[in-house]
Amino acid sequence: MDLLAKLEGLAERHARMKALGGDAVGAVMERLLSPTRAIIEGRETILAGTNNYMGITFDAECIAAGQKALAEFGTGTTGSRIANGSYALHKELEQEFARFLDRRHCIIFSTGYQANLGMMSGLAGPRDTIYLDADSHSSIYDGCTLSGAKLVRFRHNDAADLDKRLSRSEEDGGGKLVVLEGIYSMMGDRAPLADFVEVKKKHGFQLLVDEAHSFGVLGPHGRGLADEAGLEDEVDFVVGTFSKSVGAIGGFGAGNHPYFELLRFAMRPYMFTASSSPASIATSIAAIRKLAAEPQRRRRLADNSARLFSGFKALGLELGCDEASPVVAVRCPDEPSTIAMWNALLKAGVYVNIALPPGTPNKMCLLRCSVSAAHTDADLDRIIELFGAVVAQGHGKKVANG
């Protein structure tokens, strides 16, 4: 039996996608012109699906910091954080993040994916139970699997459902970890944190919030949903990524627990991989300082998000959630029409993400936009105009409820 024979279904699905005129999951950015422009298929294209929320990827000071680190520390660390891969830069970045997050401890990871793998598997073990939101990101699911913990899934954003599942659970002497996300990556909605905190007071679990899409974005200090909600003291652990608002690659976990630093010796995705390259760490240090010093980026992003949200609403598009968010997902009727509309948008000059099941909740097909502080009003109006021409005039208007 050929091991790869099981991929036949994927081959057929990918062939059907390409037969519709393009490869929506194989787009290549031939050249990057700015945080919001690239050359794709030879054409200058507005980027509206990059999670580049702060638009910081071409910042001159971040680039200079990266170049300096590249020259001074070399191209790569060639080692793990617990061997030869901890440079002064890595420690400096951890301190910068701890300060920004107002947490006593911060551990950085080589990717955001590994941050979730590491934190889930470091915090919970086979005797513990993790309660995770049904719409959690794959990195949370994979981290939960790696932990060996008992896994209980609760209905998306439904604190009463979590309460019910906690009540149903037998007391087994193990720890309980509840995992939420600040902003959910596909639909753009936020966790109702205050409701979950009420359940926490009743049942007494430890709470982790993944602020991947909300870090730098929400809250008076840009620390995420818990900052916005004024509930940071109720959140035991924070996870996030450098690949969105920070414009680099890497991830972090943070908390105040006195044993937090010991997680460094209990997280395989932290221990058994090389640490981030010096250039990436240095641009992250420069970026986090900018996020702290330039709150106008957050305000600009909020304004831009509201502009795209209300523009799409006015077109009558069905969106992923009812509040303005830097993730604006447009619901489409089915896979072929979503692929066709994605192709038409790209040819007309705008790149968005295509999101298909099982990567989406409730089998939804989505054209997912992410807004950047670097988008101009003209960019956003052009995106709205193109969605008007391609999606609102096409098939995207009437969608059965998921």
């Binding site: 049904a134 008992k150 899934r153 599942r165 149903r168 099941p357 099982p358 909740p361």
Partner: protein
């Protein structure tokens, strides 16, 4: 069919989009051609219907309706 299997088949019907005839031997994922997320959504309905907890860890060894019925019956007795 046992009572549990009958109830599971009823709960499974909304996920049965390709008209498979459901029985104890039905392989939930492959016969119904549904993805892993949909299987988890179905199991959530089963948990609520029987008021039991079925951790996701159990699912890797649960393929057919009969397998799931055994899990449900073991967990219903416990409660």
């Amino acid at each position: 069919m046992t009572d549990t299997v009958t109830q599971l088949c009823t709960l499974l019907q909304p996920f049965n989009t390709n008209g498979t005839v459901l029985s104890a031997a039905t392989d939930i994922s492959t016969d119904l051609n549904i993805d892993s997320v949909t299987v988890m959504d179905f199991v959530m309905e089963v948990e609520d219907h029987f008021d039991i907890e079925i951790p996701l860890n159990v699912l890797s060894e649960t393929r057919t309706v009969a397998d799931l019925a055994a899990v449900v019956e073991a967990r219903t007795r416990k409660g």
